[in-house]
């Protein structure tokens, strides 16, 4: 009895007891569905029922030209989107880090795309991209760049670029804010010492700021790659993956297979591919975090 009581009071039991509700919740809503997705990917599950079909879904998927195209497209889309977010975010952070009047106001004003529900922001972009009445086509026509109405979301290439631009719009504020926070964390005396030694503003940026914020740049590029890879709403609202599949990324394809055609088995096989890729990203990210932490703690 006494022993039991002691174990009841020991922090380990208490620690686990406090975590249990959250852990059970996540196991039920995240972990179990992961396992179920893997199981379903080996079946021909649909609304009608399911049978075990082995690797059929995978074989069909991997041998289809369309699927390989989708994978390539996803990475191209991601590459441009992430690079643009990082470049624009870095430039934005440098600009808003300059000691000028109004910078605290600008820092707040860059947040809305991040805070507002993505779906609502995309309704705005749908209007901007409107070929007849939208402001972008309008500016194009007034300046003579376009010789008539142009539906940005109606053509393969322009739809691809347009969805990237909208994705960059959503993702840039977050990147900018993190870069800004990192820049403000750089010790001031480094700059003062360099200034006394006669280093130019340019030198100070490349020799102090950039090396100091490199860890944050690296973590942000992986994080933003993961978020971009997961991006669903932006493409779905703007194009639903069209025209003729031009903006169908892996996530969109998974959704279409599973909930558009109710082919759960095929959808699940695609979801498994997505999860494997995400796990690779996540592993990469965590390994990197551990390395950076080690470096910091070892001085």
């Amino acid at each position: 009895m006494n022993k039991k009581l002691r174990s009841f009071n020991s922090p380990t039991f208490l620690a686990y007891a406090l975590i249990a509700p959250a852990a059970i919740y996540i196991l039920l809503i995240v972990a179990w569905p992961v396992l179920e997705t893997i199981r379903l990917s080996f079946t021909n599950s649909s609304l009608a029922g399911e049978d075990y079909v082995g690797f059929e879904n995978y074989e069909k998927m991997l041998s289809s030209k369309k699927f390989n195209k989708i994978v390539t497209r996803t990475f191209v889309w991601m590459f441009f989107s992430v690079s643009l977010k990082l470049i624009i975010g870095l430039i934005g952070a440098i600009l808003l880090n300059a000691n000028l009047r109004g910078r605290s106001m600008f820092r707040v004003l860059i947040m809305p795309p991040w805070v507002v529900p993505i779906a609502i922001g995309m309704l705005g972009w749908l209007w901007l991209y409107n070929g007849y009445f939208g402001i972008i086509a309008g500016v194009g026509m007034h300046t003579g760049i376009l010789d008539g109405p142009f539906g940005f979301l109606a053509y393969k290439q322009s739809a691809f670029i347009s969805t990237i631009v909208a994705d960059v719009w959503v993702g840039t504020p977050m990147v900018t804010v993190f870069f800004l926070a990192a820049m403000q964390g750089v010790p001031r005396d480094l700059y003062e010492a360099a200034y006394c030694d006669g280093a130019s503003r340019w030198d100070r940026f490349f020799k102090i700021t950039l090396p100091q914020i490199t860890p944050v740049i690296i973590t942000m590029s992986i994080l933003s790659a993961i978020w971009t890879f997961n991006s669903f709403e932006i493409i779905w609202i703007l194009t639903e993956g069209g025209p003729r599949g031009a903006t169908t990324t892996l996530i969109i394809d998974t959704y279409k297979q599973a909930l558009g055609n109710y082919k759960f088995g095929r959808g699940a096989a695609r979801a498994v591919v997505v999860m494997i890729l995400l796990t690779l990203f996540a592993g990469f990210y965590l390994a990197l975090l551990a390395r950076i932490n080690k470096k910091i703690s070892h001085g």
Binding site: A15, P21, I26, L95, L123, W169, T219, N230, F232
Partner: protein, 279 residues
């Protein structure tokens, strides 16, 4: 330190102007469109000038989107429920992570980070089945249940760092004086961590407000439960979209989150970035 020359200032401000234009143009144009009569909007090429701007669309939208009021209420109700539920799950867990050492502590924290990287879109099929089994499809719960799960990981990390800032000595002193753990939680931890709880709660609220599309279009077909994003999305498919009213309704739908955010942005940004930057 050296000051900026006039030319440098001019250059930086111009660059900031271009940057801000990219970020804010959609909102400005949404607002402008909401003020213009429909026949002014439907002129091609785009007319930059309208002479009869009015708030007419803000009155008319309630007729065009009959359930708009309900959608706005739903958005609020869903986001608040998700935020409160998230806090209930996260407070004990974050406290445990902040105070105790136990086996698998670090690995489970990293697993939480990894979960954060999975989007709901991947798990829709089994989630659909789970919700169907429990008879939760087409209800508020269909959107609340998965919403909470994807906010728990980050919230635990955020709140953990707040709890860690509260000195342990206070608790130890109270424990020596004979206070129970529950009493300590209620009388010491809770009051001291209120600011942290508010920030995490607001974070969860904004997160829940923002993620109201995917789960809403997938797990709920009933109009009376729809949040604003999916409610308005329905109208986009119509042949003639009343863009001025659409934009007015969108802006009314996002105004509350924006206002909440503007007042608390300093704390939220600090909380979110401190972890990432220090780590």
């Amino acid at each position: 330190m050296d000051r900026y020359t006039f030319l440098e200032k001019f250059f930086i401000y111009s660059a900031i102007f271009i940057f801000m234009t990219f970020i804010l143009l959609p909102f400005v144009e949404m607002f402008y469109a909401s003020l213009r009569p429909l026949d002014h909007l439907f002129r091609s090429p785009y007319q930059f000038y309208s002479d009869d701007l009015s708030f007419w669309a803000y009155r008319e939208m309630w007729n065009t989107v009959p359930m708009l009021g309900r959608y706005i209420f739903n958005s609020f109700f869903l986001a608040s429920s998700v935020a409160i539920l998230t806090l209930l799950f996260v407070i004990p867990a974050a406290y445990s992570y902040a105070r105790f050492n136990f086996p698998f502590k670090n690995s489970s924290l990293y697993i939480l980070l990894a979960i954060n990287m999975f989007s709901g879109a991947v798990l829709l099929i089994p989630l659909y089945k789970v919700l169907r089994t429990f008879g939760l499809l087409n209800s508020y719960q269909a959107m609340i249940v998965p919403g909470v799960a994807f906010l728990i990981p980050t919230s635990i990390w955020l709140l953990k760092s707040y709890f860690e800032k509260i000195p342990v000595d206070l608790e130890e002193a109270a424990f020596v004086d004979g206070a129970s753990r529950v009493q300590i939680l209620r009388h010491i931890i809770a009051p001291l961590s209120t600011p942290g709880l508010v920030v995490v709660g607001i974070y969860a609220f904004i997160g829940a407000y923002a993620q109201q599309f995917l789960f809403a279009i997938t797990f709920n077909q009933k109009k009376e439960y729809m949040p604003i994003p999916s409610g308005l999305y329905e109208f986009i498919g119509y042949t003639t979209v009343k863009w001025n009213e659409m934009m007015a309704a969108s802006l009314v739908g996002i105004a509350p989150v924006l206002i909440v955010f503007l007042f608390l942005q300093k704390y939220i940004v600090e909380g979110l970035t401190s972890g990432a930057v220090k780590n």
